[in-house]
Chain length 155, copies 3
């Protein structure tokens, strides 16, 4: 396991592991937030989820969409669309041997931008707060992709 130990001991890789885990935990919070709004707003998608709130016709009225639930779900999907490229490209970037300070800058901006994106989406803050935080994360991922492709392009 010597190689694994050295792999996980590289500071850039440790930083990648830390920020990836944080941003994935943040994304996982969206599931809990959706469940919270579904229960407090009594807005469900599945008949079997409404049984606690009543039987028959009385339960059917809880099979509905709610603006707050839909907002969290849009935020969650936006997370998936942006965090998946970050994890995939970020892993390859971390293995491409970037300077530690440059790598930290990339990871910190991305994770900060995604946390701010969630705040801007759920508050909601007036635009362009959400748009700019989305763009910051997007730009970080493009920058990492550029380094991966220029370091070891193999077509």
């Amino acid at each position: 396991m010597a190689e694994l130990a050295q792999l996980i001991d590289s500071e850039v890789f440790l930083a990648y592991a830390t920020y990836t885990t944080i941003v994935l935990l943040k994304m996982m919070l969206m599931s809990v937030t959706t469940a919270f709004f579904r229960i407090t707003r009594k807005a469900f998608s599945n008949p079997e989820d409404t049984v606690t709130f009543g039987k028959g016709e009385n339960a059917k009225k809880y099979l509905r969409t709610d603006p707050d639930v839909e907002r969290v779900r849009r935020g969650h999907l936006n997370d998936l669309e942006n965090i998946v490229p970050f994890i995939g490209i970020g892993l390859l970037y971390a293995l491409s041997g970037p300077a530690l300070s440059t790598a930290l800058l990339h990871f910190r901006i991305f994770v900060g931008a995604r946390i701010f994106h969630t705040i801007a989406y759920l508050t909601p803050l007036p635009q362009p707060s959400r748009g700019l935080s989305w763009a910051a994360g997007y730009a970080v991922t493009i920058s990492m992709a550029y380094r991966v492709l220029t370091t070891g392009l193999y077509l």
Copy 2:
């Protein structure tokens, strides 16, 4: 390639590879299940998909949503939301040098929980079957994230 060989020969990493592949194949089954329900229920999203079933006005009636199709799609999205964090955090966890038995416990509970989640969603089983299987997978991912962050936090 000595390092790669040793990396892939670590038993924890092999277990990660096996369970990740299984759970991703399970997720891929959701695509086929959606297609199966779309065709048997004749419920499509795209006009070009309905051509086989009729022309003009006759085809338009197949552009509709169907409860079974939507149920599979919700299960698929829930898979994405939960399996993506498992793969990302699980890779870092596997590289953090956990005991083999502990790692196997994590991977087996997660994959078992997600398979049961799909069964509970598609049958559907009465709640809290689906909720509990979701929570089991969620707890496993949190537990792996805890180990990653305590083993090598680098902010």
Copy 3:
């Protein structure tokens, strides 16, 4: 960092890095395409996004779905559903020591199929263009999963 250097220097891994980055960048283009259609079609999901186009009742009419926007979003979700398994299984496949030519064949077919899938979805091309390109990418992922599970199954 000797191990990392050798890891990233393996030609199969470099090819994996290149094709993964390309297909993720392609997926990221879907976000920009969605934004483009939302702005040109004036079809938004969030009240705060419509402020630029008018105030009060005048802005509310832009909170609507548009067929072109929904089409891009379906293509984006289909990307997520298929590219996530490719990245996860592909990484394990790349580490399983396949022949370089076989690996390149897998990666090239997958990325080509996904690019064609997007073109077929957005044009849209008549079926079965989109269906076949989806199936080609799916088959590549299954083939890689087969190799991962037969090389180092550890249950």
